[in-house]
């Protein structure tokens, strides 16, 4: 594990190295270098198995965190590469040329987070949603409960009482 991290550190400017387990580490890389980094990891370090790509919405900081988890099936270790991109006009370089399946992940991210991946095949096609016209639903500022209540007619007639308030009212 350390060898791989050392190797990466030599070539790339990575920070926030967190070792979660013996076989799982998280590293952060800047946006422009990320694809180069995972290309290097795939081609030279044996991280041939692509585990997942997903995003985390840090709305407080105005950032999306993209996480690429790569796995080295021979050494049996995982390294997760994080990169921060701006929430405004979020865009990231596509990695579909490294693994074909990444195109699917990118399609989903584009739909659910609104992160664009130019050049990724079929990235603008509907993937999960159909006829969606609100903000992308996985963004933190989308309130699913409010949306559901406004849209899907919850069955009326329910009311509840807070025990504390109710008792104060009854007992005072």
């Amino acid at each position: 594990m350390e060898n791989y991290i050392e190797d990466i550190k030599l070539r790339f400017d990575v920070k926030d190295i967190v070792s979660r387990r013996d076989n799982l580490s998280f590293i952060t890389c800047e946006k422009e270098k990320t694809i180069a980094l995972i290309t290097h990891m795939k081609n030279n370090l044996g991280f041939t198995h692509f585990v997942l790509l997903t995003a985390v919405d840090w709305i407080e900081d105005g950032l999306f965190q993209l996480t690429y988890i790569l796995n080295n099936p021979n050494a049996k270790i995982d390294i997760a590469v994080r990169t921060m991109i701006s929430r405004e006009n979020s865009e990231m370089e596509s990695a579909h040329k490294l693994w074909q399946q990444v195109a699917t992940y990118q399609r989903e991210l584009r739909e659910m987070f609104g992160i664009n991946f130019p050049d990724s095949p079929g990235v603008t096609d509907n993937f999960i949603l159909e006829g969606w016209d609100d903000i992308p639903p996985y963004r933190r500022d989308f309130d699913t409960k409010k949306y559901a209540e406004e849209t899907y007619f919850p069955r009326p007639g329910r009311e509840t009482n807070d025990p504390a308030e109710y008792m104060k009212k009854k007992l005072s």
Binding site: R158, T160, A164, Y166
Partner: protein, 599 residues
């Protein structure tokens, strides 16, 4: 090879001669398994409507609704869970979290209807076919809890270390302990209504949990201006109704309150509470007595901008809290911490000024816009059995008073204390300390009418008294004091069978054949206190009404029939700090209303 591949599949045909494995009558033959998570049932009498089930339900499937026949009372919200099977997912988290264990799932699973509105019901209240079923999901045992049932142990002085001194026994929680204890709270809020002051208990516990002491401190002061004091000696009625206490030990709400108050330096008070620069509205209110009620009223009134003057008959503020409660339970510097903050809000205090003697009530009426009287119960009651007039028969309250003032008191070798309340325990334990200091041994018997189970004193008080080598021997009614040669030799007692008659009146029954004799050369009576409201006299007294027990009749804001006079605290509600605080708070609103009406 190919031929074999053609023929072997036909071996499947041998199954045609077997009896089919089908369940003959699937609707009746197959009850759910012993642990099956089927439909809800609820034991309505055990349920207290705490709402933990509602809190943990991820689908908002549970509502709390009033149920006919279930009264709201202290410790029982009177609400019961209503389950919406249009939401439920039968995860049984509600069962596992249930504080009383009343909610269970049965192994019934078939419910079919044409009307979707049917699927809402109150388990237990509506007769459902599965209410009687025994099998079904119950909370797994043992050692399976969603919150710890065990209290964080509070560190205390070892009995051997404490029985000679008046150093505070309870050490208080550390940060970790407090957070762990606060973590046990299920935030049901059952305690709030039981607390006379309606303190926001779950909120300040939450503040402890979040390590947000300032927030917690603010919450405390919303309803209680004496947190240091209450955090030590409150009768914590909240803990008796705590929903966690149904299956385990209730939360140490009192200690958590103390923890918050202990964390805040007195210099920080004003900053945190934001009470700098309160605008004076020019009106003046007099407060008689600096007990909890008086201090509470003074605090909230001065926050409203009134100019407050307190008249205190003794040399220090605090009233019964200082003069009735021994220092090992409530150190005087902690009283001073709370009192000084209140005084720092611009409250004047006149010590050693007794109303009726140094200044009359009528004068106060002239000088101030309103008067709040919280004079408390400072007169000891006597058992009036033969021999009580002896000089070595004392009133507990007088002794405590003297101990507080640091005066020398008579401590005999053998002492009997009559009474089973907290005051009795206080004097018992104070005297054991003094005995220990004086004689190096303890010969102390505390006896009471009430039986062991119904002793009015707090359990821990009794336990600690016993740890300090005092004998607590309840269940005896005092008969007479034996005096030989002008000296007390002991107390004759007779077994008490019951205290109250069927109608609930005080009417003790004794078993005359079962008597006992406690040796003593000093007897302390502690069977309750009376009030001294002799300062209310003349016209003022005539304008007031009194109830049969001699208490002044007041409205809900503690306003007497003389509108300018508000009366609260022990003299209205009986001896209890937190009631006094609540009275003072409420009276403050009453006074505010009254004075604003006059405007």
């Amino acid at each position: 090879m190919a031929i074999r591949d053609i023929l072997t599949p036909f071996t499947a045909w041998k199954k045609v001669f077997r009896e089919p494995v089908t369940v003959k009558d699937p609707l009746n033959d197959r009850p759910g398994a012993e642990r099956y998570r089927g439909f809800h049932k609820n034991d309505l009498t055990a349920c207290i409507g705490c709402g933990s089930c509602e809190a943990i339900c991820e689908n908002e499937a549970i509502d709390l609704v009033p149920v006919e026949g279930i009264e709201t009372k202290s410790g029982d919200s009177g609400l019961r869970p209503l389950v919406d099977y249009g939401r439920c997912c039968w995860c049984a988290l509600c069962v596992d979290v249930c504080t009383t264990g009343s909610l269970n799932l049965t192994n019934e699973y078939t419910w079919v209807t044409e009307d979707p509105e049917d699927f809402r019901f109150i388990p237990g209240a509506e007769n459902k076919p599965w209410d009687k079923l025994e099998a079904g999901w119950k909370k797994p045992e043992p050692n399976y809890e969603f919150y710890s049932l065990k209290r964080e142990a509070m560190e205390e002085l070892h009995p051997g270390d404490r029985d000679k001194s008046f150093i505070e026994i309870v050490k208080g929680y550390s940060k970790e302990q407090a957070e762990a204890e606060a973590d046990r709270c299920v935030e049901c809020g059952i305690c709030i209504a039981t607390c006379p002051a309606n303190m926001g208990i779950p909120e300040y516990i939450k503040a402890v949990r979040n390590d947000d002491i300032e927030e917690g401190f603010k919450i405390l002061y919303e309803t209680n201006p004496l947190p240091e004091i209450c955090g030590r000696i409150c009768t914590h009625k909240c803990e008796t109704v705590c929903s966690v206490g149904h299956r385990g030990e209730p939360l140490s709400i009192r200690w958590l309150k103390r923890y918050i108050a202990d964390q805040v330096e007195s210099s920080e008070y004003k900053r945190i509470l934001g009470t700098d620069g309160i605008e004076n509205n020019g009106k003046k209110v007099a407060v008689i007595g600096s007990g909890p009620a008086g201090l509470s009223a003074a605090h909230y009134l001065s926050l409203m901008g009134y100019k407050i003057t307190i008249y205190e008959q003794y040399a220090h503020a605090g009233g019964m809290m200082r003069y009735g409660i021994p220092e090992y339970r409530l150190p005087y510097d902690q009283i001073d911490k709370d009192v000084n903050y209140i005084l720092s809000l611009g409250v004047d205090i006149h010590y050693n000024t007794q109303i009726g003697k140094d200044i009359s009530l009528a004068d106060l009426k002239e000088k101030y816009d309103a008067v709040f009287a919280g004079t408390g119960l400072h007169l000891g009651r006597s058992t009036r059995i033969p021999g009580t007039e002896h000089e070595n028969v004392y009133q507990a309250i007088d002794l405590l008073n003297k101990i507080t003032d640091g005066k020398e008191i008579h401590v005999a070798e053998k002492i009997v204390v009559i009474g089973g309340g907290n005051v009795a325990m206080d004097i018992t334990r104070s005297l054991t300390r003094l005995q220990n200091q004086k004689y190096g041994k303890v010969q102390m018997i505390a006896t009471a009418l009430e039986s062991e189970k119904s002793l009015p004193a707090d359990v821990e008080e009794v336990v600690e008294a016993r740890e300090e080598m005092a004998i607590v021997n309840p269940g005896w009614g005092p008969k007479s004091i034996e005096i030989k040669d002008g000296k007390i030799t002991g107390l004759h007692v007779v077994k008490c069978l019951s205290i109250f008659d069927e109608e609930g009146r005080f009417n003790p029954q004794f078993d005359e054949n079962n008597t006992n004799f406690f040796e003593a050369d000093m007897i302390v009576e502690s069977i309750g206190q009376g009030m001294d409201i002799s300062y209310i006299s003349g016209d003022i007294k005539d304008s007031l009404k009194f109830d049969p027990r001699g208490r002044v009749t007041v409205n809900e804001y503690f306003q007497s029939d003389a509108p300018w006079l508000f009366i609260g605290g022990d003299i209205i509600q009986g001896p209890d700090v937190i009631h006094g605080i609540a009275n003072g708070h409420k009276a403050a609103y009453g006074i505010d209303n009254f004075l604003n009406q006059n405007k």
